[in-house]
């Protein structure tokens, strides 16, 4: 769609675009192209000399067992967070959609964790499950479980998953509720007249009609797990113990900073860019087309 009547100044539109284009080029295209260029270079230990090494950084990267491990960690982490936060949020949203008198109040009380910073959410959950003083860690230890997210890899993963799910429920709840409320009541009434019980109505009518929302949320959640959980991971585990919670984004950060391997870190950035572009392409392709039965 285009406007049919427009202004025909020559210089003005460029002046209007200038601020955004300058900022975008300086802080976006320039660094992004640097990342790509750097991924083909190797710097010496002092960062003084760099030589062109072609695909060597990529070869080194894909020869690293730790890189595959961080991929696996990312896959497990995103699957758990997306599956749990989507299903829990859907459960709450279907209940809030039942024409309850208090539904608006519930909505307000449900959505505010969206505003809590990921790093702060991580600190809150770490406080509850810190092995020596955590309020919820003590009962676990009391039951004879040697709960220690600082040392046990599975416990650490469980903790970051819980904190990430907690933070994401509100967002998913909001979109699921909006999706549910946009389903025409007549469809549901019709199936009720045909004798379908609530559970059956949910799986045969509501869930299929909700699929555009679900699919959209799935993509958004995966992107969330990739990037926004950085603060949670850094606050709770710092990628540990023994790299158990090092996701791909966390590894870019850790390798570039602690390891000083800028070429390798840049190569990882490029791999991530490719993944994100693929995800965004999927989102635009399918969300626009409205997945439905």
């Amino acid at each position: 769609m285009e406007k049919s009547i427009v202004f025909n100044n020559r210089l003005l539109p460029y002046m209007l675009l200038l601020p955004q284009l300058v900022i975008t080029v300086v802080f976006f295209y320039w660094p992004a192209s640097q990342a790509i260029w750097q991924s083909f270079l190797r710097e010496d230990a002092f960062g003084l000399v760099s030589e062109f090494v072609g695909l060597e950084n990529y070869q080194a990267l894909f020869a690293q067992p730790e890189y595959y491990r961080s991929m696996l960690t990312t896959v497990i982490f995103s699957t758990l967070v997306a599956a749990l936060s989507l299903s829990i949020a859907l459960l709450f949203a279907t209940q809030a959609d039942k024409n309850l008198k208090a539904a608006p109040a519930y909505k307000t009380l449900m959505i505010w964790p969206y505003a809590v910073a990921p790093a702060v959410a991580g600190v809150l959950w770490f406080f509850m499950f810190q092995p020596s003083l955590g309020m919820l860690a003590r009962p676990l230890r009391g039951m004879g479980l040697d709960w220690n997210p600082l040392l046990n890899e599975n416990h650490a993963m469980m903790l970051v998953v819980m904190a990430s799910v907690w933070k994401q429920i509100s967002y998913n709840f909001l979109f699921f509720l909006a999706g549910l409320q946009s389903i025409p009541k007549s469809v549901i009434e019709a199936s009720a007249i045909d004798g379908a019980r609530p559970v059956r109505r949910f799986w045969t009518i509501i869930f299929p009609l909700l699929s555009p929302t679900t699919f959209f949320l799935l993509v958004v959640n995966v992107v969330y797990v990739f990037f926004d959980t950085f603060g949670i991971i850094d606050a709770v585990t710092g990628g540990g113990p023994a790299g158990a919670t090092t996701t791909m984004v966390y590894k870019v950060y850790a390798d570039g900073r602690l390891g000083g391997d800028l070429g390798g870190s840049a190569a990882q950035s490029v791999v991530l860019m490719v993944i994100v572009i693929a995800l965004t392409a999927i989102q635009f392709r399918y969300v626009e087309r409205k997945v439905q039965y």
Binding site: K3, Q20, L91, V120, W166, Y171, E189, I277
Partner: protein
């Protein structure tokens, strides 16, 4: 729903109440911890009700800082967070409303190219290009400055897309009418388009304020001086101490303070917030 049965309603209320409990519990614990003294919190037998040290803890967190951690008091961090969050929100609105105006209301060579240059930035969050961006900011001597905290984060397409979408819904007759009245592009923008865009701007402001306030990785990288820290990274640094004992009651008071502004925005501007969230994601 179709049928109304007391039992179904009861189950719905029960599940929702459980949900609210899960959502609120971690924050409640932080509130409680921020009102006890250090020994009670660290001892691991903290009661489930607030203690009596609230005033003292918040006063120390805000104005004095920790003793063991020798950290800056939080007041300064709060100012930094406010400046950068508002800077990001206002900056984004400013540059994106202008560029959307250019793309929608003018025809000029390379219009599509300019739009795509902006549009593609949607795909690459700052996290994937952190070190090169860090280097650019360092070369421009913007480390430890508000400009360094703000500018790299406003380079994104969401605002432009949002305003473009809104401008497309503004009836053409308005432009026709104001041209008949002899208005040029400035007058039309200022007198007609801007007043119409107020709600969209407010919704975008709410979302971007929360986004800016909650930034973590970027401020962590580019602030080296304690005086430039934002509160979200300050709280994390409070827990990483050389001593074995972190001052949890102060850390939790700081966490509460860090949550307060964005949570207040969501609760009190809920309609704008929901509107902004739905629009920026589509």
């Amino acid at each position: 729903m179709v049928e109304h049965r007391p039992l179904t309603d009861f189950i719905a209320y029960a599940i929702l109440t459980l949900g609210i409990f899960i959502v609120a519990f971690p924050v409640y614990l932080a509130l409680v911890a921020s009102t006890h003294d250090a020994a009670t919190v660290v001892g691991g037998h903290m009661p489930a009700t607030p203690g009596s040290r609230a005033l003292e803890n918040y006063y120390r967190a805000i104005f004095v800082g920790g003793t063991r951690t020798s950290r800056e008091p939080v007041a300064n961090m709060l100012i930094n967070s406010f400046v950068s969050a508002i800077g990001i929100a206002v900056g984004k609105i400013f540059i994106s409303i202008l560029s959307a105006y250019a793309v929608v209301y003018f025809r000029f060579p390379f219009r599509k190219t300019a739009f795509w240059i902006i549009f593609i930035t949607l795909m690459l969050p700052v996290e994937v290009r952190i070190y090169p961006t860090y280097k650019v900011v360092a070369d421009l001597r913007l480390l430890d400055t508000y400009a360094g905290l703000i500018l790299p984060l406003i380079a994104s397409a969401t605002g432009t897309l949002l305003f473009r979408q809104f401008f497309m819904t503004v009836p053409d007759e308005l432009l026709e009418a104001s041209r008949i009245d002899g208005a040029g592009p400035f007058r039309f923008f200022w007198d007609t388009l801007l007043p119409l865009s107020v709600t969209t701007m407010a919704a975008l402001f709410v979302i971007q304020f929360i986004y800016g306030w909650n930034q973590y990785l970027w401020p962590l990288l580019i602030t080296t001086q304690d005086s430039m820290q934002t509160i979200v990274i300050g709280i994390k640094k409070m827990l990483v101490t050389t001593d074995e004992l972190a001052e949890w009651q102060l850390a939790m008071a700081t966490a509460v303070l860090a949550m307060l502004p964005p949570v207040a925005v969501v609760i009190f501007m809920q309609r704008l917030f929901v509107r902004g969230l739905v629009q920026t994601e589509k």
